[in-house]
Symmetry: C2
């Protein structure tokens, strides 16, 4: 990919290369936010990666001010960590956080299932099926990034069907963080959702069987969590005495 000048800036609308002119403000920022967010969720930016403001400002052709705003938003969603004088880096979730996130998903996504089964429409089913299909294809062809993204999108889309925007937002955020968790604790090759799981779930929903869907989602999420290798790495201040006492 062309590294520099990720998007060919506002050249088209306003005058030439003058970078100062604000192009089309809010849309541009939203696009940058999406770019960074996607890169993190798709594991193109790995946990721990530093995100220097200057570098990002240069890459996207805006000033640090806009980048800072975006970084802070990402920090509030816990995708990046802002250390006081050290700048931003992609969040490296702890084992505790991983547990919290999956417990939360278990509660909310399962709890939403009955309502989703009640409200789901034909269009919804078609869209979900499409996502599941594309996800399987991506998995087969080895495009991990795409598969991860589609999996998160599937769960997010599902939650949105409930009609509760607040909870859907929450689920979306949890899915993003889950992606981060998978990046740290996931085993290569066995990433997250089994491909047929989503299809099975769609089947239950199509049948209007909210209870089975709920139970299945529970197993689904527990399976993902169980597939993680939670090695509690205490890289912070390793206890050397303990280690070398033998």
């Amino acid at each position: 990919m062309n590294q520099r000048q990720f998007v060919a800036e506002g050249k088209s609308s306003d005058g030439g290369g003058r970078p100062g002119k604000n192009g089309d403000g809010p849309k541009r920022h939203e696009a940058i936010y999406q770019s960074i967010s996607d890169a993190i969720i798709e594991h193109r930016l790995k946990p721990g990666a530093r995100l220097r403001e200057d570098a990002l400002a240069e890459v996207f052709g805006v000033s640090r001010t806009g980048i800072r705003k975006i970084l802070q938003r990402l920090a509030l969603e816990q995708l990046v960590t802002l250390t006081p004088r050290r700048g931003a880096s992609v969040t490296r979730p702890t084992a505790d956080e991983a547990k919290d996130v999956f417990d939360a998903r278990l509660m909310v996504e399962c709890g939403l299932m009955p309502e989703i089964a009640r409200r789901i429409t034909a269009e919804d089913l078609a869209a979900l099926r499409d996502m599941a299909t594309r996800e399987r294809q991506a998995l087969r062809s080895g495009e991990q990034s795409t598969a991860i993204r589609l999996s998160a999108d599937f769960h997010t889309r599902l939650a949105s069907i409930s009609g509760n925007a607040t909870l859907a937002d929450f689920v979306e955020r949890l899915c993003s963080r889950s992606s981060l968790i998978l990046a740290v604790y996931g085993n290569a090759g066995h990433l997250g959702c089994e491909s047929h799981d989503h299809d099975d779930l769609i089947g239950y929903l199509e049948a209007g069987n909210g209870e089975r869907a709920e139970a299945f989602m529970g197993r689904h999420l527990k399976a993902i969590e169980a597939s993680l290798s939670i090695h509690v790495e205490e890289d912070e201040a390793p206890d050397l005495f303990e280690i070398f006492s033998g």
Copy 2:
């Protein structure tokens, strides 16, 4: 113009009135955030109130940059609304949002109860009891603001006992928004939680009866929601034709 310098703070550490010097950064900002957040939650700033950046910058003795950061954080928590070229104002929740928020609380707060009942300690119980007592006192002496705040704190604290920081955060945010909802749809004099409800809940938790606590919390939240007068004010594009057709 004597800026009334809401919090005197910074003066002590670094030199006198020189506003430019960055004092002690993060703490100051957090304090300002809390101040504004509290003012909104306690209904001292009512929904719809405009929050001009210049004014806030002057009041708190920092520049607009810091204020903007705080405003954006509040916007992400949906306590303030940021309209593109119009600035910030305290969010006026819609009826739909109100329903979503209470449905979410119903799901999460109730779902948390069993775990809370399992984990609650004597200190927790004491703290909760203290909060409930102070809330009742505030209610009796007519300090609505204090009562509202204590009620939200009670629910937030309760959620934190679960040990799940993610869900606790979510509940905290829901409680903040609930306060906003009460400001718009609540009936004066009958604000939110009945005073004895919280005490009853503490009783169930002390007995370790998670199921009863869960059921009670459900009734509690439903009662609050039912007490709202959801007059679906469609101030946005009122259907004049409909109105004046008679």
